[in-house]
């Protein structure tokens, strides 16, 4: 019960690059403040995202971790304006200072693909099956730059090469179904970086792929981050992925942040019971039993008051039901658990 996460997952390699450890240079490229998303449905208003703050700096890779329904994807779909029209978005989301919440469709269109790009989980369904790969990349280029068709086509071949697709000239004339899963995801990345965006959102990019291919894709993302100084948000429910490539991690639960910090401390000494629960529910060498988190994901129409995790938390007290928990600094982390200090004490006792 008191095993640390680093027993379970190989510690991320520190010193891999200097850029990974250094704090974000200058002002954050993507800033969310009290970001909220609400969906009106037959069952009532679903409060999918209930006040998220976060910063991502240039060249930084922020991992967003959470289970299905935590609101992690919806947050970023919302910033990009890709949610259904009925969704209500409040708060602030700025990219390079430009406010996206409430921005006109024209502005959003210009931001999307140029300043902010997104890649999705299933690259097969994310690519139009009847258009050639090259054409799809060309579309990305020509939507934002004044480039001729031929020049754009050449650029797309270049991009395919950058992401590591062999024989890019031939491949550009092929269709999505002729590519393997990993290749398709590389194509998505190529498309996303075509206009050198400031922010790249990767929504579960490796979930649909084989483990071996996962590593390759993560490497591509690393290269993008290093060579183009793009701020990357990596959304995933897979802790292994986060451990491997992220600089900082933000753990989300029920539409709010549970914990935040650099990747090593988060894995080494997580402060929030939810994070700890996640870490200990992973199979690992030497661990004889899995201990899943009891209970079920919350109902987002009517979430539990106060800290939404309290109904599943072994350490919950009455105070946990009052007031929405905010992230407060706690050592080298920021935590939303009001009992973080107590938990540490409990541990050092046993």
């Amino acid at each position: 019960m008191t095993e640390t996460a680093s027993d379970a997952i190989e510690a991320p390699e520190s010193g891999d690059d200097d850029l990974a450890l250094a704090p974000p240079t200058g002002d954050a490229v993507l800033k969310l403040r009290d970001f909220r998303v609400t969906f009106p449905t037959l069952f009532g208003d679903v409060k999918a995202v209930r006040g998220i703050d976060l910063d991502v700096g240039a060249g930084e890779m922020l991992g967003i971790v959470g289970e299905s329904g935590s609101g992690k994807s919806v947050t970023f779909l919302g910033t990009m304006g890709l949610l259904p029209k009925s969704a209500r978005i409040e708060g602030s989301a700025t990219v390079g200072g430009l406010e996206l919440v409430g921005a006109s469709p024209k502005v959003l269109n210009r931001v999307r693909g140029q300043r902010m790009a997104m890649i999705f989980q299933d690259p097969l369904s994310a690519l139009n099956p009847v258009h050639r790969i090259g054409d799809q990349i060309v579309e990305m280029i020509r939507s934002h730059q004044d480039t001729g068709k031929k020049a754009a086509w050449e650029k797309s071949i270049e991009l395919l090469d950058i992401v590591g697709i062999p024989q890019p000239r031939d491949r550009a004339s092929q269709y999505p179904h002729e590519f393997s899963g990993g290749m398709r995801q590389r194509v998505m990345i190529a498309m996303a970086i075509a206009n050198d965006p400031e922010v790249l959102i990767a929504d579960e990019p490796t979930t649909a792929l084989d483990v071996t291919v996962q590593a390759q894709i993560l490497d591509v993302l690393q290269r993008v981050r290093r060579e183009m100084h793009t701020a990357i948000v990596l959304i995933t429910h897979d802790l292994g992925v986060v451990a491997r490539v992220a600089d900082r991690v933000q753990v989300m639960y029920a539409g709010r942040a549970a914990e935040r910090g650099d990747v090593v401390p988060i894995f080494d000494h997580p402060s929030h019971p939810y994070t700890r629960g996640l870490m200990s529910s992973i199979p690992a060498l030497g661990r004889e039993r899995l201990s899943p988190i009891p209970g079920a994901p919350p109902n987002m129409v009517d979430p539990p008051s106060g800290c939404a995790f309290r109904v599943r938390c072994p350490f919950a007290i009455d105070a946990c039901a009052e007031g929405l928990p905010e992230l407060v600094p706690f050592g080298d982390l920021a935590t939303a658990c009001i009992r973080a200090k107590d938990l540490v004490e409990l541990e050092s006792v046993s």
Partner: protein, 332 residues
Amino acid sequence: MTELMNPSAVAVEAPPGAAPTGDAEGLSRKSLSPRQMAWRRYRSHGPAMIATVVLVLMVIFVLLAPITARYGVNEAVFKTEGGVSNRYLSPRAEAWFGTDDIGRDLYSRLIYGTRVSLAIGLAAAIIGVVVGTVMGAFAGLRGGWFDDILMRVTDIFLAFPFLVALLVTRNMLGEISWLEPIIGERTSIRFIILLLALFGWMGVARVVRGQVLALKEREFIEASRAMGAGNRRIIIRHLLPNSIGPILVAMTFSVVAAIIAESTLGFFGFGPQPGADTTSLGLLVGTSKENVLTGNWWMVLFPCLTLLLVALTINLVGDGLRDATDPKLQRG
């Protein structure tokens, strides 16, 4: 809930985490079975609900024929006497929908006729669905030569213009004298029911086959087999319950198709001639042909409107059923 809310709108808007299960505090949503969800969706389909009500009322009305009809099927409105003819009277107090060529009340005849046609349609559809389901299920499950032949045969039949195939088959069957004791003679009601069923089963068979083909690769079927279930058990316990939706939809549309087919045949004089004591929509609609240019508009309008009403309500019900049981809309 809004009146005309289309279920697909709900599916599109449903975000992740909208309807989870569980019973602890804050986890209050009760989970609904697929059947309950389908019923909910059906209820939210405005036109389908209206149509269902109308259809049920119509069926009841027609079943209570001796009470709701004002005259007997063959009864003249009043006897011709003293120069006052009872033929071709326009709608009036004694005959709400007018009278026909021998003075019978069209309104009453329509009620009896609709009853007969509904029965024909239902019977043909039921037989067609039963046969079609069995054939389709076996074809889908076993594949092989059975499936190939089934597909070929249905392809050929369905390739011909429907009316052509219907007419030719009708005549052909009518000529084969040794079949007569079984299927009845050409102008009997039994014959037409079987004829319509003959065409009906093919559509259902294809639908069921499609369903089976899609389902049989699913893991729960594999698991069943691993537990030793044979074909028959798999069909009955697993495939059919999961295919109820499409089968119901196919059956509903079969009923309409049968009723319209019967009317069409009747229109051209190839329909059932059940004798003097009953009539059918087909027959009534058939008389409209000769009345177009004679100015007896009621003979045309009322049978056509009745047919239209029947077809429309059943179609709407079928549409509602289809939307309610569409597997693509299983979320939310």
